[in-house]
Amino acid sequence: MTLIVESGYDFWNPIIWLIAFAVVMVIVYFFRRRGEGKYKKGEDQAQIFLCGEEVPGAEQRQVRGGNAYWGFLETLKEYYDGIVRPHTGIVNDYVVWFIAVVAISAIILFVVELVG
């Protein structure tokens, strides 16, 4: 009983989830074992293949953090241009944002009061 989190709509019990996860893992293991026998360590099969070209060293091969998600950032370039511009890093702007939030929430609070 106490192992269950009730959300008023549904419940969440990680123990059940873990059991289901274990069952799936067993099935996956069976699939995996079928292919395991053909794999031979130490042969060419285990080497990197790059269209027959010479494989570059580790420094060149590594995908750097700055290159990851290049496509995502490039597609959403307009959004990011807009969103990065306010992040100026100037301490004065931080104060401006604070005052803006105070002002906007005060206006919302009073406008709703007047209307309703």
């Binding site: 106490t2 580790a58 998600y69 939030v101």
Partner: protein, 522 residues
């Protein structure tokens, strides 16, 4: 033992302060003795917090009046109102106290080896203990002005700690931004406290809550208080200081800064639920908080995607997680007046938000500690410089993966347990909020996949081939957090029943908080 628990609420605040001023004296004699004293005292404080938590959850609200003839004397004879500084510890307070206790212990254990090479360690531990004492004070006090004082203690010592490594220019800038933002926020809070004091001549939260009328001045005070505390906890659009400070502080301090931010979150809850309660314009204020929360989630996570500095990436993720809490809290606040809605999903939303507070402190703390471990070994935070670290830093990589999965809400870790509470309850309030939340969670996973793959996987780079695993005390600190994350993930029901539910009841039940101070109103 009963006496100890009776005095424990003040001891939890006073022992760190006492040890803080003792450390320079001990540190002049012996470094080892100083470290031992700091750790033992914080362990003692953690023990007291747990004992107090048990007592509060079993026996109800705990009152401590400083300087009175006995602790429960809130209103002395001949006065009509509470006059002394009163500590009032209820379910939410001990909940936050547990977070601070765990986090401070972890931070000190981590600092033992992380700060070994630094100069002026005596001052470091003094400031650290001051900050811990201040954070405890923020969550235990029942007095608005006292809240301000402890907030300032936390801010000042926090800023000094952020800028502690004077050789880095970034750290100085981070400390400067933190103290400027904190000073403005706290002064505006003091102004709002003045507005409240002008009308009711009261500073005690419970007594003030009994008297509050929600006049025009109260509204102005409410807006200022909410905005200032949201700024202190890093809600969009006032989150920009957060990435600048979290990323440059020594990581053990960043973990404490997270706890301090959560203490601001606690103050926000206190203001909204206990101080104003049902008198305020619930739907409007609730929606303002929800809007800030949604913005925080969305902007936080999208900014995190493009970061190449690992600590900045995690800091933006902190903004995103704070958004989840704000959404849960806002939904709970919006339906506070509606009894049926509150019972069907309102309390679940608040529980989810509160549960997420402790989960947030745990997994973001773990992620920051891992980032600090990387910085400790390779001397850079730039993801473009990293790669293949998982070959040599196996434990660190495991811990990062654990924190990342918990943070993105992957079952069976603790982040999922609290996020599902928020999703399902918020869905009944407004389905769009849940859809945004799930979307944000997916991008969070993407963010951490990027960080994990560019830092830990890949062929081991020649320049990092002789990198070793970090020292034992850092591993130990990370292990503590990791173990708690796994336990919370496997048994979320127990955690919710033992500490989260009492905290939710304490937040929703405003009258019991008031009655503990002013007595039962006939």
């Amino acid at each position: 033992m009963a006496t100890l628990i009776g005095h424990s609420s003040i001891l939890i605040i006073a022992v760190p302060l006492l040890i803080a001023f003792l450390t320079p004296l001990i540190g002049m004699a012996s470094k080892k003795a100083r470290n031992a004293v700091v750790i033992v005292s914080l362990a003692f404080v953690a023990f007291l917090v747990f004992a107090l938590a048990r007592d509060v959850i079993l026996n109800g609200i705990h009152i401590y009046t400083l300087g009175a003839t006995f602790p429960g004397l809130t209103i002395p004879e001949g006065t009509m109102v509470p006059v002394r500084i009163i500590l009032e510890v209820d379910g939410v307070s001990v909940f936050m106290g547990i977070i601070v206790a765990i986090v401070s212990l972890v931070a000190v254990i981590y600092s033992l080896s992380a700060m070994k090479g630094e100069t002026g360690q005596n001052r470091f531990y003094t400031l650290l203990l001051l900050m811990v004492g201040g954070t405890f004070g923020m969550v235990f006090t029942g007095d608005l002005f006292n809240l301000f004082v402890f907030l300032e203690i936390t801010s000042i010592s926090g800023a000094a700690l952020i800028a502690f490594r004077t050789r880095f220019a970034d750290s100085q800038e981070g400390g400067f931004k933190y103290i400027v933002v904190s000073a403005i926020a706290s002064l505006m809070i003091l102004f709002a406290i003045g507005l409240l004091y002008a009308q009711y001549n009261l500073l005690n939260i419970g007594a003030l809550a009994a008297a509050i009328q929600y006049t025009m001045l109260d509204r102005i005070a409410l807006v200022i208080l909410i905005s200032a505390f949201v700024m202190k906890l890093g809600g969009v659009p006032m989150h920009m200081w957060l990435s600048d400070t979290y990323s440059v502080a020594p990581v053990s301090i960043t973990v404490l800064l997270i706890a301090a931010s959560q203490a601001s979150m606690y103050a926000l809850m206190r203001i909204c639920f206990t101080l104003y309660g049902v008198t305020l314009d619930l739907a409007v204020v609730g929606w303002i908080i929800i809007a800030i929360g949604i913005l925080s989630m969305f902007i936080g996570v999208t900014m995190a995607v493009r970061q190449t500095d690992i600590t900045r990436l995690i800091a933006y993720n902190c903004v995103c997680e704070a958004g989840f809490m704000l959404v849960g809290l806002g939904v709970g606040l919006a339906v506070l007046g509606d009894v049926t809605a509150l019972r069907t999903y309102g309390t679940a939303a608040i529980s989810g938000a509160i549960f997420h507070v402790i989960n947030h402190a745990l997994f973001e703390g773990l992620l920051f500690l891992v980032a600090g471990a990387i910085f400790y070994r390779i001397g850079t935070r730039d993801l473009n410089q990293m790669g293949g670290l998982g070959h040599t830093m196996k434990f660190t990589a495991m811990f990062f993966l654990l924190g990342a999965l918990a943070s993105s809400g992957i079952p069976p870790f603790n982040g999922f347990a609290s996020k599902i509470l928020i999703y399902e309850s918020v869905y009944q309030f407004n389905p769009i909020l849940t859809i945004i939340g799930i979307f944000v969670s997916i991008i969070t996973l993407a963010v951490f996949v990027k960080a994990f793959f560019s830092a830990f996987t890949g062929a081991s780079l020649p320049k990092y081939e002789d990198i070793k695993e970090v020292p034992k005390s850092m591993i130990a600190a990370m292990t503590i957090l990791a173990v708690i994350i796994i336990i919370f993930g496997l048994f979320p029901g127990l955690v919710v029943d033992w500490i989260v539910r009492p905290a939710t009841d304490a937040l929703v039940g405003q009258t019991s908080y008031i009655n503990a101070i002013v007595g039962v109103i006939p």
